[in-house]
């Protein structure tokens, strides 16, 4: 772009973020405009500092064939009890990581959790290992839109863990009263605005639907939780509430969270570390208070390291 353009206009969030002439333009300057300066205040409850946490999830050479979000060889260590942000531009593969680990798209590579390998491609097996997933595609993957709130909240736990059942085996009956009680507790705890646990999820607002998705994931009592785009299509008030919930569960239950989002600002608000994905690979891991410029450069595919041999790509 720097080679051919006379003037460069940067768009962000549907508005012009700034214009620069070629003479003044540097990669750093453009990156800064792309990311935006507004750093939200970080006001998080402290966590108990202990010994150096161990690695709870180890990804090696993960390749995921998710159309539009291909992952082309990711190496990543997630530490026990942290909130790891995963940032990147749309289509660069950040969403593919969680979908690949959960077995929703064909994946190869090694994924280890707690020292033993997770079965790639076997969603049930992964869920049984205490991993939960809140999909970026709330309406298509995250919810049964025409079913009730309570069915959505407990469905996965009943199937995977055999909870909320009377008896055991495939023909065990769902325990309606236990389900109702749990759903009511979740509605209260997550502040889901609804007419009651039997209301169809389709009738809820985006933010409340997202809370149902989170409630479903937390019902599994996971030790490792993948959350993708939790604030997409959610109004501002509910956005904060959703992020607070994630932090709360992380601090209170020690749940490790891998939070994938297109909004860098919210990742910087809650994450301990932020991995930046571009072109299907991890370009680097930064602390949340790293300068905008550093993020911008990683978003664009690394510090010029890829110039040689790949000159034609950008």
């Amino acid at each position: 772009m720097l080679a051919v353009a006379d003037r460069i206009t940067v768009l962000r969030d549907g508005a012009v973020a700034g214009r620069v002439d070629r003479a003044d333009a540097t990669v750093e300057k453009i990156a800064e405009l792309m990311i935006g300066r507004a750093l939200p205040e970080r006001d998080l409850p402290p966590r108990a500092e202990g010994a150096d946490p161990s690695v709870t999830l180890r990804l090696r050479d993960l390749v995921v064939e998710m159309p539009g979000e291909e992952v082309r060889g990711v190496d990543l260590d997630v530490k026990d009890g942290e909130i790891l942000g995963v940032a990147g531009l749309a289509g660069q593969g950040k969403l593919g990581i969680a979908n690949g680990v959960l077995g929703l798209f064909p994946a190869t590579g090694t994924v280890e959790s707690g020292g033993s390998p997770l079965p790639l491609g076997d969603t049930l097996g992964v869920l049984k290992r205490g991993v939960a997933f809140v999909s970026e595609d709330r309406r298509q993957v995250g919810l049964l839109l025409d079913e009730s709130i309570e069915t959505n909240i407990v469905g996965t736990a009943a199937h995977v863990q055999g909870r909320f059942l009377k008896g055991s085996g495939p023909f065990a009956l769902l325990d309606k009263s236990a389900i109702r009680a749990h759903a009511e507790r979740m509605i209260e705890e997550f502040d889901i605005r609804c007419q009651g646990p039997t209301q169809a999820v389709r009738r809820l607002s985006g933010g409340n639907q997202q809370k149902v998705c989170l409630a479903r994931a937390f019902t599994l009592e996971p030790s490792l939780l993948f959350v993708s785009e939790p604030t997409r299509g959610v109004d501002v008030g509910a956005k904060d509430r959703v992020l607070q919930l994630l932090v709360k569960v992380n601090r209170e239950r020690g749940t490790t969270i891998v939070l994938t989002s297109s909004e860098l600002a919210e990742l910087r608000q809650v994450s301990d570390r932020i991995a930046v994905v571009s072109e299907g690979r991890i370009q680097g891991i930064l602390p949340p208070d790293a300068p905008d410029v550093d993020f911008g450069l990683l978003f664009a595919g690394g510090h010029g390291a890829r110039r040689d041999g790949h000159g034609g790509e950008s």
Binding site: L104, L124, Q140, A158, H159, L174
Partner: protein, 365 residues
């Protein structure tokens, strides 16, 4: 306002059909010479007779396969069950003319026919589900052809069936089963008459209705089990189900297997009520009125509840049962053209095919 809300809840098709049925009954009671008690009794028998066949559609819809137009495949399995049982009974303990088997034996024959049919239905249903997996997205169209094909295939079987019971094979001897086998002496009206009581000149067919309601309750309970909930989730949103660790393919298979096995049981119940086992081309078009009944009950291609089965079967079968004798009676009274006697049959085709078309145009329930 309340009336509008109530009508909305009832749905257009149910409201129209219920009003039409009520109109027919009022007309029958006032303007015709028909005996209302017999008419009501016939409506109930027809409802119980078709009930399980309509119920058989539900597991397939819930599993996301759509309306199972391949129902005749299951019916053929039920027919094989009945023919086998009748042949074995006739070979081992032949009946003299006018004789009947004892009550207990009749129940045993009926039960064996059902179990045999259901087992065959499960096997056929599993194979059918393999086929449907290969043609995802066009299940209903493919189902129609599976239904037609299975009836044609079964016709060959009927011609070659190694039956020895003379009541089953052509009177002139040789091989091949008759078009219509008479169930008199075997289990004709066994369920209809079981625990029945009379009112006026008609009777209340307790047994057949009880079997139907029990089957409905069993399926209702099934959808409240862990595996039933997984099946419904796989049908409602396959991607959600996959993300919850549900094996969507096996759940779809299970839905088709259950549907086919229930169709086999359904045709046995149908035949005992009807009094005859009809072979060859008889099951060819039977899926269509069954589907229509379910849709009239309020179901859609993607959603079917047990309540839809109960309401739909009664409304649809009652309208058909009432209109035929009523029109004939009115024609006779007023000396109308005999050709008008075809009107109920035409109405049946318009209602059942029209309602299927209407339902297919609606994407959401």
């Amino acid at each position: 306002m309340n009336v509008v809300a109530l009508l909305k809840r009832l749905g257009l098709t149910r409201t129209v059909l219920a009003a039409f049925l009520l109109g027919l009954w009022v007309l029958s009671a006032t303007a015709s010479s028909l005996d209302m008690s017999i008419l009501i009794s016939d409506c109930l028998v027809r409802t119980g007779m078709n009930g399980i066949l309509v119920l058989a559609l539900v597991p397939a819809v819930r599993a996301g396969v759509g309306l199972n137009f391949g129902l005749p495949l299951g019916m053929v399995c039920g027919l094989i069950g009945m023919v086998t049982v009748m042949d074995l009974a006739g070979r081992t303990m032949p009946l003299e003319l006018g004789e009947s088997y004892g009550m207990g034996l009749q129940f045993a024959l009926l039960g064996t026919a059902m179990i045999l049919g259901a087992l065959l239905g499960m096997i056929a249903g599993w194979l059918y589900s393999r086929l449907l997996e290969a043609v995802k997205g066009q299940e209903m169209m493919v189902g129609i052809y599976v239904g037609f094909g299975s009836v044609a295939g079964a016709s060959i079987l009927w011609l070659l069936f190694p039956a020895k019971n003379p009541e089953l094979i052509w009177p002139l001897g040789g091989v091949g089963l008759r078009n219509t086998l008479v169930l008199d002496g075997y289990f004709q009206h066994l369920l209809d008459r079981f625990g029945s009581f009379s009112f006026g000149n008609g009777f209340f067919p307790t047994g057949v209705l009880l079997v139907w309601v029990l089957a409905c309750a069993a399926l209702w309970l099934f959808f409240r089990t862990r595996i039933g909930a997984a099946l419904a989730a796989a049908g409602a949103n396959p991607r959600f189900a996959a993300a919850s660790g549900i094996d969507v393919r096996s759940m779809r298979s299970l839905g088709v297997v259950l549907s086919t096995a229930l169709a086999a049981i359904g045709i046995v119940v149908f035949s005992q009520s009807y009094g005859f086992v009809q072979l060859y081309k008889a099951p060819l078009l039977m899926a269509f009125p069954t589907v229509a009944a379910l849709l009239i009950g309020g179901a859609s291609v993607r959603n079917a509840k047990i309540a839809h089965v109960l309401i739909g079967t009664f409304l649809f079968q009652s309208v058909l049962t009432t209109s035929l004798p009523l029109v004939n009676d009115l024609i006779a009274q007023h000396g109308g053209a005999k050709a008008l006697a075809n009107v109920p049959e035409i109405a049946r085709l318009i209602i059942s095919n029209g309602i299927i078309l209407y339902a297919l145009t609606r994407k959401e329930s």
